[in-house]
Symmetry: C2
Subunit: 341 residues, 2 copies
């Protein structure tokens, strides 16, 4: 049977003092509130003896702060997001916050559902990888003064804190690297470009190709086709229709996975002959044969920045500062797959 945890009331009655006094002492306000040294010690000792832990639910109700953050990503089982989650977890716990992770599957309905589920009061702040159509919901949250920091993508016209990477630059550099290695016909395989991060990746690729007087070859697979598992078929077709391609640049991790699968099925030598770069690193890329070159996001830096933007929002009374939009640099991890043999 569940034994009742010790409460402040319990301590107070046991020591024959008031609840107020106990609360003051336990909150470190003894000096400020003129509680005598002896009594302070007595309370502290007894609390420790009884292994007192404040009931955080009661604290939340009273203070309106839950010390809970929501970390909403596209899919927590995706390596990029789970790695990020792991790092953010530690940073948040360090600051006294617990984190609820959830996956919105890049689906507006699911996003909205989740956001209203964690309705006001229940949660102190949101870190969100926004699905394309939830600009209005985010705007609502902001209007209600709920702390929000966007991650990975943002809305051009929305004044909201965000942490993203310089997708266009990253994509430009990766493409340029392929070109520097004498690849001439670089295929770019991407999806829904209506999202800020995807738009940037496409334009970076196009810029680099054009700057070097080459022709772009872009395959854009509709997002819902990918969900239906038809991504591989699209890539297969694309490769058949473009035999001239000598390199492939995949705009996301999962596209690279599908792509490698297609290459393996088609002809396992292809992987060795083509130049290959993937956006977002994966633990397995460096042990693949050939090792796959990738654009790696600064996961630690991203997590730190997220918390750095979140904390002032959590503290502020009447928010009037300009929301910060942080853009971080990526790193091109050059491996075997992008070096012309």
């Amino acid at each position: 049977m569940k034994k009742k945890p010790v409460s402040i009331k319990h301590i107070a009655s046991e020591l024959n003092i008031s609840v107020t006094t106990v609360s003051f002492v336990l909150n470190g306000k003894a000096k400020e509130k003129h509680i005598s040294k002896e009594l302070t010690k007595k309370v502290l000792d007894y609390a420790k003896l009884m292994n007192y832990r404040p009931n955080q639910v009661a604290q939340s109700l009273r203070t309106g702060k839950s010390k809970l953050l929501v970390f909403m990503v596209e899919d927590i089982s995706n390596s990029f997001f789970s790695k990020l989650a792991r790092i953010f977890e530690d940073i948040a716990y360090d600051k006294g916050y617990k984190v609820i992770f959830c996956s919105n599957e890049n689906n507006d309905e699911k996003s909205n559902e989740l956001i209203t589920l964690f309705n006001f009061r229940q949660v102190d702040g949101f870190i969100i990888v926004p699905s394309p159509g939830i600009k209005d919901t985010i705007e609502e949250l902001l209007k209600d003064g709920v702390p929000v920091v966007l991650l990975d993508r943002f809305f051009e016209e929305l004044d909201c804190c965000s942490v993203v990477i310089d997708n266009a630059q990253a994509s430009f550099d990766a493409t340029q690297h392929l070109i520097d290695n004498k690849f001439k016909n670089i295929g770019f395989i991407t999806t829904a470009v209506n999202q800020s991060q995807m738009g940037g990746r496409l334009s970076g690729y196009e810029d680099a190709v054009k700057t070097n007087g080459l022709k772009p070859h872009t395959l854009q697979i509709p997002f819902n086709e990918i969900i239906k598992g038809r991504g591989k078929a699209y890539i297969h077709n694309f490769l058949n229709n473009h035999p001239e391609l000598d390199a492939l640049f995949f705009a996301t991790n999962y596209l690279a996975q599908s792509g490698l699968e297609v290459l393996k099925e088609k002809d396992s030598k292809l992987i060795r002959d083509l130049g290959i770069i993937a956006f977002d690193d994966n633990d397995m890329f460096k042990i693949y044969d050939p090792a796959i070159t990738s654009v790696s996001q600064p996961l630690v830096e991203i997590s730190i920045k997220l918390m750095e933007l979140m904390l002032p929002l959590l503290k502020k009374k009447e928010g009037s500062e300009i929301p910060q939009k942080v853009v971080l640099k990526t790193e091109l991890l050059i491996r075997e797959s992008s070096i012309m043999k």
Copy 2:
């Protein structure tokens, strides 16, 4: 500025009725408590109009239920755990529970810290991948009537619900499969065997080898050496000292990753020549060249079972049922790496 959400009190005073009535109606107890149809409708309509959402913190305080579950794994960024988390997340939300994920790094101190952090009352139940030395802590939780379901591993002498796989059988089958494919000198690479799941994997391997009249070759890397990043060196040495090996069986996903890395560094042809099996599947294994054979855990089944064991614990008043220990079957995904060429 943050506008105050509508409360029951607000609705009550607006409609000139009592808080009790509003609460009854909103909790669907209108009939049972003899609230008239008209008033019921009035309340419901007004609540909808005002977009009323109950303050879950207040509900938690009153009812003692937070509708929060803790899902504590070794490392949420590990593919096995993050995939599991993704599936469990959906199942839990379906039942009205939110999930806090956290990583204990297989470290007792961190485990204990986390468990006391989510102290009683704050959280309704725990799903735990236990680090080796927290048997006593778990026992405490059980004694306090806190719902706990162990995952992936368990303590032999502890009466606690758990969901694990049949590690010995899985390991036996995988080894037997290698032997059936004419591999004669199979190396087994593992770590801390004091954990139930690792013990099972080792004994399964040893059984199979002995049954077939072969000699075992086991490398056991101490867990803290792996943490320090020395795993690769151990494997490297092992391979040098055992040139006779014609196959390798890695007892965990991350050992397989280190192993493949070592093989690649040593001589990339090795990967093709050796028989290779990894415990736990990875998205990249099927697109590796050669595709890596793996022991795959039934993630969906595991998640469903976890919730199936958890729910009755969450409901029960005075628990007196015998804790269930569920053991699930794995699947050997036979790919190129384990077929003798």
